[in-house]
Symmetry: C2
Subunit: 377 residues, 2 copies
């Protein structure tokens, strides 16, 4: 987390700056982690935007990735505004602080509804789309009771448990993190539910307004659900289900994981019961959650210091020999950037510059915990 | 555990000795803990029998407790023999070793069936009498799989989960610990099930053959179910149910406690789910149990050394002043015998003699962990 990204500065961007942030994150080959690396490298968004083509070329891209134009960003902003959707950049006061603390926090979120709700202590409830009647009933009750206990309830607007969790907390406040853009609510029949959520809560997306969610967008979205919350309650999750992905992300983000016990004869409970075996806290009533989370909510949120103090002065350009040396060390298996620095014997700033180049040339993947791998061709 | 009781000697009693054991435990005011204290005090059963009247009188009994006569014990032995029931005394080779290790192991058990089964590694399965169809199905499956994995399955012959556990393991071997005598099977409709259990397994009772079980005999019996086993699996247990008593006894006996997760909307799962919250290991398949118990079964069973080395030579008789001093220290709240020794300033042997006297006068209750209290009048 860097001061350059502004999380610890807690100040509002100008409209112009916010437009630049939107352009950068909407540009090709720029994800949340690359965004962060670019800011670490260049110190501000405008310089990063200007450097994109050169960095990508150096990384070996035959054609540089498409950069979002100012006009495109302005059109998205205007369309959002007319739909009552607001863009909030990472580090602005309205950006949810807990979400800001995850590795791959979205640099810009598009939010609709009662923005102020996002400052409240939050708990997530997720579970099976094909939930049982009992599971749905329990999810709705738990969400209502957690809402009455003062918590904002986060979920993913999916069928089944997610929808029940939102319904149970409509009046007290709930936040739906969606996988597509605001104009592509999925599943389509949940449009009215999204409207109802926005009355006392928030619908939140990191995607362009008209983005239609693809399969891979859902696991990516799941990190937002857990990231918004101090803990995630899993109700009815089959093995290899999206809810277990949310639970895994919650663990990676240092969130509490709760699971609701269910019959071993119901395959919809296999994943949630396995979470119990792995140490998740069992939940049968709201107080199981509130008791566990109360001390966490009472702790002030600590923003992490940057892993490496930033030196936004651009270092010298890497040499071809240095580029070859680094690429030779990389492969499809994720390795730590620290290991790459050690094994290459190169200066850290040079290694990070080359990784950024590869990244923008779509040749690198960034994983959690400072790990990177070459993109399989 | 004392050498006098013979657990570590592992030798068979003569018929005469076994008759004396039966007489002593069938005598009024003599329970398993008093039995043990008497043997600690007198070194053997015959001397203890002879000393009973005097000890009770000294303890303040208006009339000494009724002593089981030799003729009565002979009649019970003969009746048992004709029904194919065998008496096994604590410390004999056929006595289940794990059961022998609990504080209040029955000095004599009456067993019917395949006695050899009792040496096998054992796991208990208990649960609700008014179990759901799913619970019964799961209990039967789990018992079958644990049986196939080589374990003897212990339970309590009750309706619901217990009966399902026995049925699932009839062919591989199961042991039913019952609350009444062998001639008073409860519930009565489980007579045929008891017969079937005895074909490859064992029905076990510590009560006289014709003893009709009273409500208070069931919790007492539950300690045998957990005592026989290295671990107890609880399936569907309501709050304040007998299965939770078995779980508590299992914990006191140092046994593993497992619980099968169930819906929070089913009151029959409230107790078992609460066990999960208290740290019981979740079970959804047999391997959850076998994996946890394997290392325990591989450890050789360690018999405890006696808390106080026995000095079976009878110490001097306590004085009236000493008796008053001890009684003044006692009340309805259990206190440790060690504390009584310390606070009274009396020699340990004298304190233990006086406690035995009070015990046989029905004025003392012995609890686990060397605790005693005065019987409320």
């Amino acid at each position: 987390m860097t001061a350059a990204i502004g999380v610890s500065m807690n100040c509002r961007l100008t409209d112009d700056e916010r437009l630049d942030w939107l352009r950068l994150i909407r540009s090709q080959n720029v994800g949340p982690r690359t965004f962060r690396a670019l800011i670490d490298h260049h110190g501000n968004v405008r310089d990063a935007l200007a450097a994109l083509p050169q960095l990508a070329r150096r990384g070996g891209a035959s054609a540089p990735g498409r950069i979002c134009t100012r006009a495109e960003a302005e059109r998205e902003m205007a369309a959002a505004q007319s739909a009552g959707i607001i863009f909030v950049a990472l580090g602005e006061p309205d950006y949810p602080l807990r979400l800001a603390m995850i590795d791959d926090a979205p640099p810009v979120i598009a939010v609709r509804g009662e923005l102020a709700a996002l400052v409240r202590p939050t708990v997530a409830i997720v579970g099976a789309r094909n939930a049982s009647a009992a599971g749905i009933k329990f999810a709705e009750r738990l969400a209502r009771e957690l809402g009455e206990a003062g918590l904002l309830v986060a979920s993913g607007l999916a069928r089944g448990i997610d929808a029940a969790a939102h319904r149970g907390s409509l009046t007290t406040g709930t936040v739906a993190a969606i996988a597509g853009g605001h104009n592509s609510i999925y599943p389509p029949e949940h449009g009215a539910l999204a409207d109802a959520i926005a009355e006392n809560g928030v619908v939140l997306s990191e995607m362009p307004l008209n983005h239609e969610p693809r399969a891979r967008d859902f696991p990516r979205r799941n990190r937002l659900i857990s990231g918004l919350a101090a803990g995630v309650v899993v109700i009815e999750a089959a093995q290899r289900s999206g809810s277990l992905i949310t639970a895994r992300m919650a663990l990676e983000q240092g969130r509490e994981v709760f699971a609701v016990p269910g019959s071993p004869l119901d395959p919809r409970c296999e994943g949630s019961n396995n979470l119990l075996k792995q140490g998740a806290a069992p939940v049968t009533e709201a107080s199981d959650v509130t008791t566990a989370l109360r001390p966490i909510f009472e702790e002030p949120l600590q923003l992490r210091e940057p892993d490496h103090p930033i030196a936004p002065s651009t270092p010298r350009e890497p040499t071809d020999e240095e580029r070859d040396r680094l690429v030779a060390l990389l492969g499809p298996t994720p390795v730590g950037i620290d290991d790459l620095i050690r094994l290459s014997g190169l200066p850290p700033a040079i290694v990070r510059t080359m990784l950024l180049e590869l990244d923008l040339a779509a040749r690198l993947e960034r994983h959690g915990g400072g790990q990177v791998s070459l993109t399989p061709i």
